[in-house]
Point group: C3
Chain length 168, copies 3
Amino acid sequence: MGHIVLVTGGARSGKSTRAEARVSALPGERVYIATARPDDAEMRERIARHAARRGAGWVTVEEPLDLVGALARSDGRGPRLVDCLTLWLANLMFAGRDWEPEAAALVAALARQQGPVVLVSNEVGMGIVPENALARAFRDAQGWLNQRVAEAADEVEFVVSGLPLKVK
Amino acid sequence: MGHIVLVTGGARSGKSTRAEARVSALPGERVYIATARPDDAEMRERIARHAARRGAGWVTVEEPLDLVGALARSDGRGPRLVDCLTLWLANLMFAGRDWEPEAAALVAALARQQGPVVLVSNEVGMGIVPENALARAFRDAQGWLNQRVAEAADEVEFVVSGLPLKVK
Amino acid sequence: MGHIVLVTGGARSGKSTRAEARVSALPGERVYIATARPDDAEMRERIARHAARRGAGWVTVEEPLDLVGALARSDGRGPRLVDCLTLWLANLMFAGRDWEPEAAALVAALARQQGPVVLVSNEVGMGIVPENALARAFRDAQGWLNQRVAEAADEVEFVVSGLPLKVK
């Protein structure tokens, strides 16, 4: 059974760097499963910066929606990094897909992995209640998803100022 | 003296579930002190979902404002769950009440409890400074209340992705 | 080499009080380096409240921009409290200064200190993504700064409801 790690934290908390370090410590070809859509300039710049930091020794797979499929296709190649669940969830909601069965399918898929997976997610519920109903719905969905993935994970780390706090 | 536990965390972090588990582990009739006002559809749906999750073996008391009274009246019946301080504080402010003496009275009341109490609260100060002055005032009040209740508590847990981190 | 401590947390989490306690436990004249600009009523009131809490035995230095200089000038006098990096960063950005070299210079300066320094900063990235591009840029800069200062620090504490969680 593949070892599953969830790395969560705020925006720019250093969670991707931490997750990369976890994956880099494992043997085998590393697979980076990017859920970002390179739609806008901000996101393109961020993707390029992350790729430069990872360097060689990584294969990149872009998969904004079919994360379960990307995990199935990459299993056995080497350790996988999913960066990140927050963009995946936003992509599902933006595409008008029902996120709940998709999230349940992801959790079920994690239990089937033979190789290790490190998943990055965001903490988005520690600010003031958003005035916008869509933002509240997203915040609720993200919190639910993090709980379910954390339950399925063997390890959970909460990153603060670049430093991991072990929560599981 | 009643054992006091504060369970804090972000929105949808699993803090209510965690607090319920803490109360369920204690002997006696469980009292759920709900501070929510079932005013709108979102809130009604959430209250119904929480009630279904708790199941039988719980008595529900609805008290949006007089939390000190609700604690006094329920003391000795069994372990109490206060869910949550954030809605209570919002209700006080919305009712135009001066929250500071009420918060001080709550902290004083906690020291008088004979039976155990588990209180749920939210972390709301880890986002960008709100543009809205009322939201800033609420954020300040919530932070102050959490500090005072944490000081009065025997245990404090910070819930991240459904998992408790012991902070006291 | 001066011992460097970063105390981070949300708004009104009790991080300043915690940082003051850390500095107060050290021998020597305490220097409070305030980065706040007493421009508006809210901020003036907060500064006065913090000063009253600290009491005697503190020298206050107001330095909204030249934090590196303030640290150099105060080194050797006694333990220093920098409150806080978030206002300093906001001041730099508001003044149209390029924050990245200034942040790098601060990190380099921390390595040169002979006496101890406790720095307060905020976690601002655990809410919903701000709609405002400037707020997003600030959030990113703050996250980056916290990571770099945490890397340079000997100790890092994350304060939740007034209680410190040791992260380094």
